[in-house]
Amino acid sequence: MKQLDDIQLLEAIERYLAGEMSASEAAQFETIRKQTPEIDQMVVEHDMFLLEMGNYANRKNFSKLSTETFNNLYNAGEWAPIDEQTTKFKVIQLWTKYKKVTAIAATVGGFIALFTSTLVMYFSPSLNGSQVLQLSKAIEVIKKNQQVQGHILNEVKTKLPENAKLLSGGSGFLIDTKGYIITNAHVLKGNGAIVINSLGQELNATIVYADKSVDLALLKIIDSDFNQPKSIPYSIRKKATELGEEIYTLGYPRNDNDIVYGKGYLSAQSGFEGDSNAYQIQISANPGYSGAPIFNNNAEIIGIINTRQKQAEGVAFAIKSSKIFDLIEAAQNEQSNEKAVHIAKSMSTSKSSDRKKQIGEMKNFIFNIRSYN
């Protein structure tokens, strides 16, 4: 009986909002509405809902019309791509099929409480916060299924435990075929971590060791789904790198799981305020690039992106790659079972000078990292 009343009430609200009531009926309804705050609230809410539903229906129907019109004209030969070969892109993953959802991230002015992750620049007080930005992604995510905007990942079953709260994210890269990954310590704000490869596959990982003073951390993939690669197509440089050397990076600055390529050069041998553990680099670094490897043209990792200078666009800092060796040593001293880490020191298979080919090989070894509690 109760539900029947509710159904009738909703029907009445819909008729009222649609202006389908007679004048006397509407007047009666308005009286009830004034006297009953609950009903008033329902009317307001339903009005809002119908407005959004109307907008939704309009856009959906129009998009369909627009797409059909385009396809008809395209099939009739109205247009063709100018020249399929002129691909001078510097980005690996172009939006072959632009996903509408990405626009959500750009929504202005808090009108919507974002239900998916949001890129937020993270200020670290310990790092002279007003001048330097750490580049991790602060993720405002409540539920485990919603960690990524792209449809791709939502359809994949997540490996996050029930009720896990995502706290932060960034990039990381494999240094040992057994599944050891290097990232920034500040990327890992939670106790647990999952890593996602460029194909969108999620893998469980544990935090083996983290050193906040150098902002580096070692993760290990612990997942039966992990296919151990035979070798790693890059090596890690122990020596310093020359000023002006051309560099590039691969990371996951975006809200979806598309890996992004960025290019730049080494601009100083020291980091922020003369930090000798770091390089200054000229690259457009966005939040999410934290932990991303920096390669030179010989496919050697020379550093790990961690911060960028706030005032100067394009100025970022990277931890020197030699610090990776120090970190491994420290991890091994502390935990005897990590003795087995074999960093890819020597040049391995890829010395190809073809950048596209290099990237094609490397991207499978670079992971999108998410940390949760």
Binding site: Y56, T69, F70, V91, T107, A113, N286
Partner: protein, 196 residues
Amino acid sequence: MTYLSINILKAEYNEIALLKGLANNDSKAVETLYKNHFSTIQHFIENNNGSFDDARDVFQEAMITLYEKVQSESFTLTCQIKTYLFSICKHLWLKRLQQMGKYSTPLSTQEESISVETDIEAFEKKDAAYAIMDRALNSLGEPCKSLLEGYYLNKKGMQELAAEFGYTNSDNAKNQKYKCLMRLKKLFFSQYNIGD
């Protein structure tokens, strides 16, 4: 002189007619807009690090922006359709390039453009709500999704829906629709916040 001014008037008249057609989902108007303006955008995007597919997607968004703009009662045409569509596409594309980590690329173009910030904002707000509604509807499952789409998107009556979904009478259909609607609203409002 006279001849020229008549031509201008005619052009304006055509544009207004076209926009009215667009507001009413007239497929002829949509086709004309594609025929007249897509190739400009295609050239612009393909000359600025984009592909044909990028051009298609960006232009589609510009069309939606214009469509939603002409639907509002306060809509006024302050520039040519060509300029408007180009401005939106340019803005969207620049933004996309920046998101892809390609800052400071001065876009090469000779086309005239106007400021379209507010329209883009309006588009994006709607886009966010659209995504929430889409997600909510898609997580409902059947028959809820089709039932509610039939009612709210395709404006079918309860009797028609009852027949279509095999309910013995329209009261049963109403009952079902009510349950589905409650679930949808719950899903929708859990992600959608008013104000603030």
